[in-house]
Amino acid sequence: MHRPRTLYEKHIDSHTVCTLDDHGHVLLYIDRQVANEYTSPQAFSGLREAGRKVWRPAATLCVVDHVNPTAPERIAAMPDAGGARQVSYFEQNCRDFGLELFDVLDKRQGIEHVVAPEQGFILPGMMVAAGDSHTTTYGALGAFGFGIGTSEIEHLLATQTLVYKKLRSMRVTVRGELGPGVTSKDIIMALIQRIGAAGATGYAIEFCGETIEALSVEARMTICNMAVEAGARGAFMAPDDKVFAYLKDKPRVPRGALWERAVASWRELRSDPGAHYDSEVELDATALQPMVTWGTSPDQAAAIDGRVPDPQEEGDPIRRQDLQRALRYMGLQPGERLTEIRISHAFIGSCTNARIEDLRDAARIVRGRRVASHVRAMIVPGSTLVREQAEAEGLAQIFRDAGFEWRQSGCSMCLAMNDDVLAPGDRCASSTNRNFEGRQGAGARTHLMSPAMVAAAAVSGHLTDVRRLSQES
């Protein structure tokens, strides 16, 4: 009898070229990489300086997403000289090293973690690494994805491997039915709030339970995507029929007999009964409510009916200082009701929540309503194909009629590396993943929430419990 293994251990074992020591280091083979224009340039320069080639060019897909403008009219030009230089060097690198590129005018362009699943580039059982922390998204497809820095991108391009230290395993079991207006974003935000921004540091999280099984594949992506905000270096779910159905007609998946063979193999991708986890967390989905962040770290969050906490109630002096600093930055008072927080901006976008289902969720709230007069509201679809589909379904018109800007795809105001930047003091309801100081612009204030909650805030002008609006509509 073999020792029962977790799915994480199976992923690692099946990709281990060799063991490097008895402290958990292995040389790990990587099946796929996605690259962007901003974290890759120095990696390519490193290859050029050393005269090295890309080991397996077909394993890498390059997408322009971080620095491009998202103005409604698509143009090839970048908003600034730095972005233009990065995109032009990216194009040169793709040409010189023989890599496939979706440039800004490509119909398939979009945010890398939306594009890669959409193209069927990521399959169950794959080991995926990319120069972006939200590579964890691919766990929703039964792959294992993790973010790496630029030096590791260079290592991966040159060798198709990484020197990797095995993580500990955490199982997060979510049980019960989600209430109306509560989404997968609320599951992951509640988990981060509960275990903390470093609660899963050093861990790979396996999500399971009937609540997860009931979610769509896109909703699962939101959870795996944002697990990195709890420190997880990978988050995944066992692939099921929903995943196979999601993938079946995607452009790059295997066809015919090879597809059948692949699916049969993917069905084996489950943790063995009795496998050991280093940590276990259980969440009761029936107790969850729509979540919002009030601070400057993703774990500084509460249910929408809550209040801003009082730092005086924190016993630990360093934590008290952190809280005070967060409230000062956010311009909030202890005890303030979250639903009384007035916003100036609303943003629906990012690899966390800008897929077609997210836009449908938001449109359900927006239909027949107007964006509050003091709010600038933007929708940046996760990919150009998502944008097209939303237009075909009439969602774009709903957003435009309500006063939303309907824009082109890119990472945009999630990290504000392009020209979509907030001004100091702006306050944004955002469907993104990070509420860090300055994330959406120096001095700007971010409140994270689900896309439907952003829509509710946009039409109300302040943070709002989406369930009140859904009852009215």
Binding site: H15, V17, C18, D21, L27, Y29, D31, Y38, T39, P41, Q42, S45, R52, R56, V67, A81, G82, R85, Q86, L123, G125, M126, S133, G147, G149, T150, S151, E152, E154, H155, A158, T159, T161, V163, K165, A197, A198, T201, G202, E229, G231, R233, P254, L258, W259, R261, S297, I318, R319, Q321, D322, R325, L415, M417, R434, F436, E437, G438, R439, A442
Partner: protein
């Protein structure tokens, strides 16, 4: 990679939790295609006031920590974005090692690949070191990687653990890609078998 053997210098306390890489290296410094100029961007919004002058309240603008080689940091330092620019900036401003209780995973690997030593200690040790180096007279320390020791001005020593593989790479300043490429045949053999067993991956 610059080897790390034995380094002496000033350690600056920065004990806030969850200092993220957006704070370490803000977005306006990410537009390069090389590694230059990142010393200017490091902790930009903390180091400089709106008028561009150094913020006198920020520890790295105060004597003796303005010439620090080490940071003593709060939990989950380096969380968030994968941007290696954060580590390049730390190196360019002269930081050789960080001492903390926990570091974010990608940041941890990025430091290792740039020869920046990360030392992980327990909560109690870290709080004590934070207090010691917050006193200008106690800020000077030396770190001996070979012996795995931090030595303080008053003669006190704190031992730290490190994986032998990481230690060796730092001590020798090893080129990771060069080391891995010595296994080219092994990688090729693995790849061939892997793609044979899972032909849909090819």
């Amino acid at each position: 990679m610059q080897p790390f053997t034995h380094v002496s210098g000033v350690a600056a306390p920065m004990l806030a939790a969850n200092v993220d890489t957006d704070v370490i290296m803000p977005k306006q410094f990410l537009k390069g295609i090389d590694r230059s100029g990142l010393d200017r961007g490091l902790f930009f919004d903390l180091r400089f006031l709106a008028d561009g002058k150094p913020n006198p309240d920020f520890v790295l603008n105060q004597v003796p920590w303005n010439r620090a080689s080490f940071l003593v940091v709060g939990p989950n330092f380096g969380c968030g974005s994968s941007r290696e620019h954060a580590v390049w900036g730390l190196k360019q401003l002269g930081f050789r090692a960080l001492i903390g209780t926990s570091f974010a995973g990608i940041f941890f690997d990025n430091c290792q690949r740039n020869g920046v030593l990360l030392i992980q200690l327990g909560e109690a040790d870290l709080q004590r070191i934070g207090r010691v180096v917050s006193d200008p007279w106690g800020a000077h320390v030396s770190i001996d990687l070979e012996e795995q020791l931090i030595r303080f001005g008053d003669g006190e020593r704190v031992r730290f653990d490190i994986d032998p593989l990481r230690k060796q790479a730092l001590l020798l300043g090893l080129d990771a890609i060069g080391s891995t490429l010595q296994r080219t045949e092994q990688i090729r053999a693995f790849e061939a078998a892997h793609l044979r067993a899972n032909p849909w991956l090819a």
